[in-house]
């Protein structure tokens, strides 16, 4: 007998934290613990279903940071704590955190790209002995779009943290795309290292190229894909890229593989 993998269950929203006008973190009662980088399928009756990566977790809850850009996310924004959302998961693979132990780590993220790496970064924050060093470059379009201010401040206390705005000047932020700041990371002096890049497809591509220009080996680079998903379990076909299914084989891919995946 098979489990019905595509049947969601209602879960209560415990609390909501608004970051910006369009971005908000929801804490949802849930006992299924996600691994670093995994996603859930979230849905609301009438509105539909979409994959959202877990941005945080704790005993009995999972957090999601949602950007209010589509119908579903708009409807989720209209909810209040105590309401339910439908949830199933977690799905997909995770960042290979065990490979990161005792090595240098560079995390580059753009916009909401920080959400999928947040649980992992918090884990390293609480366990600073795991990685040799942690460097973060986090880019946002402008000051209104900045997410996770508290985390950014927190991380800058323990990690080498560069927060940057694409083309705006503001206190506490650098200016310019993330690619502009990669040269500041001493990649060449790392003995062994890993690089995690998460963000819009174009940003990931250029950031990876820039890293390689600065001496990084492509096999040391990990990216996380965002695709349309309907099932999350390898049946609906929407997330397929060539012979890969992002929901099954990803969302995390090593760059040696990711670079061959063309839409």
């Amino acid at each position: 007998m098979e489990k019905n993998k595509i049947l969601p269950q209602p879960h209560k929203i415990l609390s909501m934290l608004r970051h910006t006008d369009t971005e908000c973190t929801f804490r949802v009662a849930c006992d299924n613990e996600p691994n670093f980088g995994q996603f859930f399928m979230l849905s609301l009756p009438k509105v539909g279903e979409a994959p959202i990566s877990a941005s945080g977790k704790g005993p009995g809850y999972v957090e999601f940071t949602i950007r209010n850009v589509g119908l579903l996310t708009q409807a989720i924004f209209d909810l209040v704590p105590g309401n339910s959302i439908f949830l199933r998961g977690p799905y997909g693979n995770a960042f290979p955190v065990d490979k990161f132990e005792n090595k240098d780590l560079l995390v580059i993220c753009g916009g909401t790209g920080m959400a999928p790496v947040l649980t992992m970064l918090n884990h390293f924050y609480d366990h600073p002995e795991v990685c040799k060093s942690v460097h973060i470059i986090s880019g946002f379009k402008n000051i209104q779009a900045v997410l996770f201010r508290e985390e950014i401040e927190k991380f800058s206390r323990r990690f080498d943290m560069i927060a940057t705005l694409d083309n705006e000047v503001a206190p506490g932020f650098e200016t310019g795309m993330v690619t502009k700041h990669i040269c500041k990371i001493p990649i060449k002096s790392f003995v062994d290292y890993n690089i995690v890049i998460v963000g819009p497809p174009i940003m990931m591509k250029f950031a990876a190229m820039e890293c390689m220009k600065n001496g990084a080996d492509e096999s040391k680079i990990w990216v996380s894909f965002e695709r349309k998903m309907s099932c999350g379990v390898g049946k609906c076909g929407h997330c397929r890229v060539g012979d890969h299914y992002v929901c099954l084989d990803g969302p995390v891919f090593n760059y040696t593989e990711a670079k061959t995946m063309m839409d």
């Binding site: 489990k3 579903l72 339910s84 309907s230 379990v233 390898g234």
Partner: protein, 599 residues
């Protein structure tokens, strides 16, 4: 099930559980029963229970006894009266535990369902038991008691298959058809956690038991395969099919004259048939048979704001499909996606697919766009019965002459030439039906030559792919293809779907999530939640589709098999006359050119 005593044990466990559930609804809970409930053993613990509804309910049951909900027996008695008898509230607002209430249009008692179950009990020679008091025959407690009776009945007899099927039939037709909805109502009307939990537990148990029955029945039905051939009068085969209708829905390619996509003589698609005459044998169907067990739209679950109830297909009948070899082979592709990809099965697909048996129809000829020989799908082994199904115009002249000669050799039947059908039975289940018929030597004949060939691009080195993706010839589809998605709809191996929510009424809180076929030739296919469209234009969508059919699927699944089975329907269907065959053949040439350039 290892042996007979295990089987008896299982039956008696199930009997006890049914009696137990019956008691829950019969009257108020008393002290003794409450204690019994605390210690009741369900057949599976949580790990083994794969049905979410049931496992959730079991969890809830444990929690109920672990943490004192503060509900006294008096509270429960009051809630029983209120929820099931409608005591103290305006009439019509309660979960009345009668099948008739849920199945009659007026939602009142003593309707058809009551008549039906009364008859069923009578045929079994049972009197309504004493302690039933004034409960009616279609009260949930009585129906559950009857299931308990059947469990015992089945274990007393040697022919258990019949008994199991009888149980399944009653469970599906007289419990699962209304109890889930009734239990949802309990949730609305009950004041106590106890009865809300009982509601979920009951639905969960019934669904679970239905799966248990299914697998026991399937195990008994899987008999050894045979290979014997017969010659049957066409009219006799019709009679046989008629008999099979008791246990099967029978599907075949049928013509709808008033519909149609481009042909003037209507549309041929799979639907339920009543006789051989309805089957169109001398033309290819416009749609593939996949819609029989993977419909264009189907329900996944019902929901309100705070709960979901899985949609379960309770139809006890099996499915017979009259299908061509390539279409049967296409189903294997669908199986690979729905039953294997990602290491899990899609339960909705599986439930329907498990019921399907194929009656293979020989192809009287290769149609204009067939390329089954190139794809290796001209033959299939996967059938219960294979047959040469002539119809009024389904044969070539030579066939007709051969047949006439045979008919004459057989002698004349009332002055008319016998119309006979040769067939081969491979599925033991159907053998009995033909034992009276003339046994002959017959092997199905498969198409060995098509007018057109499909040349599969030989991409043996994946490093060729970037160049293949960038080939200029894809771009012509930006002018030619209108992204209608018709090619996906008719294809027997296109499996992609998306989900849509339908609300019961515009402002209702209740609704249903359905899945519907979706087409990779349309830009919405790749639109992410954030509004980003990954594949926007026909050139990239065409590349995505075509490479899946002749490269990506094979690369993922392995072996020799490609996703495309060469049925040619996409080419026939395209309103812009884009030939998929030409596309693949041109891709082949381009790939060869690229390889030559590389040296």
């Amino acid at each position: 099930m290892s042996n007979k005593s295990d089987f008896k044990q299982l039956m008696s466990n199930r009997e006890e559980l049914y009696r137990f559930f019956a008691r829950l609804f019969q009257k108020e809970i008393d002290e003794a029963f409450f204690e019994q409930l605390r210690h009741v053993k369900f057949p599976m613990d949580r790990e083994e229970t794969q049905l979410t509804e049931f496992s959730d309910a079991l969890l809830r049951l444990n929690e109920y006894f672990e943490y004192d909900a503060g509900e006294t027996l008096d509270d429960l008695a009051a809630d029983y009266a209120k929820t099931f008898l409608g005591a103290g509230i305006v009439e019509g607002h309660a979960a009345f535990p009668y099948e008739s209430v849920y199945t009659s249009p007026k939602r009142i008692m003593m309707q058809n369902a009551w008549n039906e179950v009364t008859d069923i009990y009578m045929n079994k020679g049972i009197e309504m038991s004493e302690n039933a008091g004034d409960l009616k025959a279609d009260h949930i407690a009585i129906e559950l008691e009857y299931m308990a009776f059947l469990c015992d009945d089945t274990s007393q007899h040697t022919e258990t298959l019949f008994g199991l099927e009888e149980q399944k039939e009653f469970l599906n037709r007289h419990l699962l058809n209304w109890v889930p909805e009734f239990c949802l109502d309990i949730k609305y009307y009950a004041d106590t956690e106890f009865y809300r939990m009982v509601g979920q537990l009951t639905t969960g148990f019934l669904q679970f038991d239905s799966f248990v029955l299914d697998s026991m029945i399937a195990a008994r039905k899987a008999r050894i395969s045979v290979t014997r051939s017969f010659r049957v009068d066409r009219s006799r085969l019709d009679e046989i099919l008629d008999g099979l209708k008791k246990d099967y829905h029978i599907f075949g390619p049928k013509r709808y004259r008033d519909r149609g996509m481009r042909e003037t003589d209507g549309l041929i698609r799979y639907s339920e048939i009543n006789s051989l005459d309805e089957i169109v044998n001398n033309e290819q169907s416009d749609f593939s048979p996949k819609e029989v067990f993977y419909p264009i739209a189907s329900s996944l679950f019902r929901f309100d704001e705070n709960s979901v109830t899985e949609t379960i297909n309770n139809d006890p009948k099996g499915i017979i499909i009259f299908a061509r070899p390539c279409d049967i082979e296409a189903v294997r592709r669908l199986d690979n996606i729905f039953l294997a990809n990602g290491g899990s099965s899609d339960v909705y697909y599986k439930v329907a697919r498990d019921k399907v048996k194929f009656f293979m129809m020989e192809c009287p000829q290769s149609w204009e766009n067939c390329t089954c020989v190139s794809m290796g799908t001209n033959r299939t082994e996967n059938y219960s019965i294979a047959m040469r199904l002539g119809d009024q115009s389904g044969y070539t002249q030579k066939d007709r002459e051969d047949r006439l000669r045979e008919g004459i050799q057989d002698g004349r039947d009332n002055g008319r030439i016998r119309e006979v059908i040769d067939l081969q039975v491979k599925d033991g289940e159907f053998l009995d039906l033909f034992l009276e018929e003339e046994e002959i030597r017959y092997e199905p004949r498969f198409i060995e030559h098509n007018e057109k060939d499909l040349k599969i691009p030989q991409i043996d080195d994946p490093s060729l792919l970037p160049a293949i993706y960038n080939l200029e010839f894809w771009q012509k589809y930006n002018d030619e293809c209108i992204s209608c998605g018709g090619c996906n709809a008719v294809c027997g191996t296109c499996s992609c779907y998306e989900t849509i929510d339908f609300m019961d009424q515009d402002n209702s809180r209740k609704g249903e999530r359905r899945r519907i076929w979706s087409s990779c030739m349309r830009p919405e296919f790749s639109r992410t939640a954030g509004g980003n469209v990954i594949r926007k234009t026909p050139d990239v969508m065409m590349r995505f589709k075509v490479l899946h059919k002749v490269y990506d699927y094979n690369k993922r699944i392995g072996g020799n098999e490609h996703m495309c089975v060469g049925c040619g329907r996409c080419t026939k269907r395209c309103p812009e006359d884009i030939s998929y065959i030409d596309t693949v053949n041109q891709l082949y040439d381009e790939v060869e050119r690229l390889k030559a350039e590389r040296g």
